[in-house]
């Protein structure tokens, strides 16, 4: 009987502990800070570990750090009254888990009561936290999220801003490049296409199929591979023998690197080579050197934009790594927009959101403005030219470089 009693006591202890813990939290949550403002609290949850850490570590995190340093070096965030307040950063690791990112943002909003929240990395995570940003009234400048549903999301979450376009945009741009090249007789109009079995790859490939059809491009090979594939030789061999002049891969960084190397090995040198995320990483250009020339992908920069060039230099100097050629600069621009909106409207989140939606901002991209809460001044396609990844589509946009096709054969090292 002693035994039983002991168990019962322990059980009660366990339950009491749970209750106490919950109560404690409730107390903590209620605690407010009410003193004179000496700083602006900015928080973010980002994948520092887990599967998303690679992407976040290139595009997002360095820019957050760079921006905070830039602002604080200049004395802090400027408010409408000219007062400058330094940024105090609260940083969480979401461990690449949807449940964690939701909780971390909730914590930033309700417990840390930060003034603004920067977005996590990735389409899925930006969507996961969108309802929270909305409920707590924070503007959400979703950068690393590619989605065709942005117009719907804007209606659903009024303070969300979508800054990287949707699959259709990129697919249409690529289709028009292909169509032009076919018209010019550069290529035969056949394309081999592979895509990663992930939200990003599927979005793009489902947009590309109708776009290519409309542009009169024939898709002769179309396969999807699981993320983490390391050996592409079967697919490259198929593509090579398919008679296509153009090879398109909506891929993720590890696969983009592998595809480039394995295509060289297989002497597969299509006239048009379009690869996915990772092509715009500086390390890509560094590793492939001359061979990168002519390879296309999403994004790009205007090589003549001085501000951008200066940003790139500073990024490398401060964070030790060069920024990528697609999302990085936009991430930084999104932060500049936030900074400017705060300068104009102060720390009132609603006012800042309205200002973001309607105002025009000077950023490293040049003059930047949202259309229906979406950033549309983007490079839908870019190409490696002279050691830089430059924007080529839309061709009529200011600063666009001309597509150079066909790309040359692989050079022997």
């Amino acid at each position: 009987m002693k035994n039983l009693e002991r168990r019962r006591v322990l059980r009660a202890m366990a339950l009491a502990g749970t209750v106490a813990a919950t109560g404690l939290l409730a107390g903590m949550t209620g605690a407010a800070m009410a003193q004179d403002r000496t700083s602006v609290k900015i928080g973010y949850a980002i994948s520092k570990t887990g599967g998303n850490a690679g992407g976040a570590g290139i595009t997002t995190l360095p820019n957050y750090k760079l921006w905070v340093k830039d602002v604080n070096d200049a004395g802090g965030l400027e408010l409408p009254d000219g007062k400058k307040l330094p940024i105090e950063v609260i940083e969480y690791d979401d461990r690449s888990s949807a449940e964690e990112v939701v909780r971390a943002v909730e914590r930033l909003a309700t417990q840390d009561k930060v003034d603004f929240i920067l977005v996590p990395w990735g389409t899925g995570f930006n969507l996961a936290v969108a309802p929270l940003f909305d409920r707590h009234g924070y503007p959400q400048l979703a950068v690393s999220a590619v989605t065709d549903k942005a117009p719907d999301f804007v209606k659903r979450w009024k303070k969300s801003f979508w800054m990287l376009g949707g699959g259709h945009d990129y697919a249409n741009a690529l289709a028009s490049i292909l169509a032009d090249a076919k018209k010019a007789g550069t290529v035969n109009g056949k394309v081999a296409m592979i895509s990663v079995a992930d939200g990003f790859g599927i979005d793009l490939v489902t947009a590309a199929r109708p776009a290519f059809k409309k542009a009169g491009i024939e898709v002769v090979y179309d396969k999807t591979y699981p993320g983490g594939t390391s050996d592409f030789s079967p697919m490259i061999n198929e593509a090579k023998s398919s008679g296509a002049d153009a090879f398109v891969a909506f891929s993720y960084p590890p696969e983009t690197f592998a595809l480039t190397q394995q295509a060289q090995v297989a002497s597969f040198s299509p006239k048009i080579l379009y690869l996915g995320v990772g092509t715009g990483f500086p390390v890509y250009g560094k590793n492939n050197g001359e061979n990168a020339t002519g390879i296309m992908s999403l994004g790009g920069i205007d090589p003549n934009n001085k501000m951008n060039a200066e940003y790139r230099k500073r990024h490398e100097a401060v964070t030790g790594v060069a920024p990528d050629y697609w999302g990085s600069v936009i991430t930084y621009a999104s932060l500049q927009m936030l900074q400017e909106a705060i300068k104009r409207k102060g720390l009132d989140k609603a006012a800042v959101s309205t200002e973001l939606a309607s105002g025009a901002f000077q950023t490293v991209l040049g003059e930047t403005k949202f259309e229906d809460n979406q950033l549309r001044q983007l490079w839908w396609a870019g190409q490696w030219q002279n050691g830089q990844f430059v924007g080529v589509m839309p061709a009529d946009r200011k600063g666009a470089s001309k597509v150079i096709l066909p790309r040359g054969d692989w050079k022997k090292k």
Binding site: G17, A26, T29, D94, R103, G124, L127, A128, R156, T224
Partner: protein, 316 residues
């Protein structure tokens, strides 16, 4: 009589208190509660099968993901309660098939098999979505509030706890203990081992499936990498083992502090989270080798022994 009713009363009081939490805790508290209840349920459900049988399963996320994905797939076409029911039924069906196929495996082979199973299901879902439906990410726009999710999880956690308690004092619970101690004796006592294991595996799997189904609406967007994140399996396992998988409150005692620890670490040491977590883990293995509850009980016993000298020793 009060002796019998007291625990039930305390339990009801605790559940009621926990149910009241959303009214006072604010949204972060609710969020925290959701995460905690989620893991408490997962760990309790996991321990339901794996504790007494000592079959270490890494298939947790397979069922968790099935629940989440079912909700994502049917969220537009069904009313919410039906959605949960369907998720539960799918989980049940998969558990039956898997259970029938795997219960002859033992030890590490079972561990890796269940891990492979989770990955296989994830790959098949991906392939199906890509090739048949042509989309991968799915959006869930259900009008479920965080409070609603919290209460549902509380209900589920309570259910899991009650099932675990009931099994602990029922015939099937005894059967499980016997199986865990010695399968040969179990079958010589007339116990149909395969049936008992299968029943428990199924109950445990359905509970896990429901956790996934209830939590999914919080993510708004679901794709296989999100729904079938293998860390869920590992964390569940670690929590249950830490608390002591063989006791009713063991998983609870593992899940709550570990969850808080993770939260605290990722909030305060975002850059050194991994290292500290790893060291804490190693420390736990060395300091609390048999779980928190066993540790507490041992010290309790020791304290009793040293404190009350005139009590006869345990053996007498």
């Amino acid at each position: 009589m009060s002796r019998k009713l007291l625990p039930a009363f305390v339990f009801a009081l605790v559940v009621a208190a926990l149910a009241y939490v959303p009214f006072i805790a604010g949204s972060y508290g609710i969020t925290l509660g959701i995460g905690m209840l989620g893991y408490v349920t997962l760990a309790t459900a996991w321990a339901l099968f794996s504790g007494p049988t000592r079959y270490v399963s890494l298939a947790t996320v397979a069922f968790f993901g099935i629940g989440a994905y079912t909700v994502a797939v049917f969220s537009e076409s069904m009313v919410y309660p039906l959605l949960l029911a369907v998720a539960g039924v799918i989980g049940l069906a998969v558990a039956l098939v898997v259970g029938l196929a795997t219960l002859r495996l033992a030890g590490v082979y079972f561990v890796i098999f269940t891990f492979g199973l989770a990955e296989l299901i994830r790959q098949l879902v991906t392939w199906y979505e890509v090739n048949v439906t042509g989309t991968l990410g799915r959006y869930i726009f259900l009008p479920v509030t965080p409070e609603g999710i919290y209460w549902q999880l509380l209900g589920l956690a309570t259910t899991a706890f009650l099932i675990s308690w009931w099994i602990g004092r029922s015939r099937i619970g005894l059967a499980l203990k016997v199986i865990g101690d010695d399968e040969v004796v179990a079958s010589h006592c007339g116990i149909n081992i395969a049936r008992v294991k299968l029943a428990l595996f199924t109950v445990s799997s359905v509970l896990i499936t429901l956790v996934g189904a209830i939590q999914a609406p919080r993510w708004t967007y679901v794709e296989p990498t999100i729904a079938f994140n293998p860390t869920v399996s590992f964390l569940t396992l670690i929590m249950a083992l830490l608390g002591g998988a063989n006791r009713l409150t063991g998983p609870l005692l593992g899940a709550v502090p570990l969850f808080m620890l993770f939260e605290w670490l990722s909030a305060n040491f975002p850059n050194h989270y991994s290292i500290i977590l790893g060291l804490v883990f190693i420390a736990i293995v060395f300091v609390l080798p048999r779980g928190v509850l066993a540790f507490a009980e041992e010290n309790w016993r020791r304290w009793r022994k040293s404190g009350v000298k005139n009590l006869p020793a345990v053996a007498e």
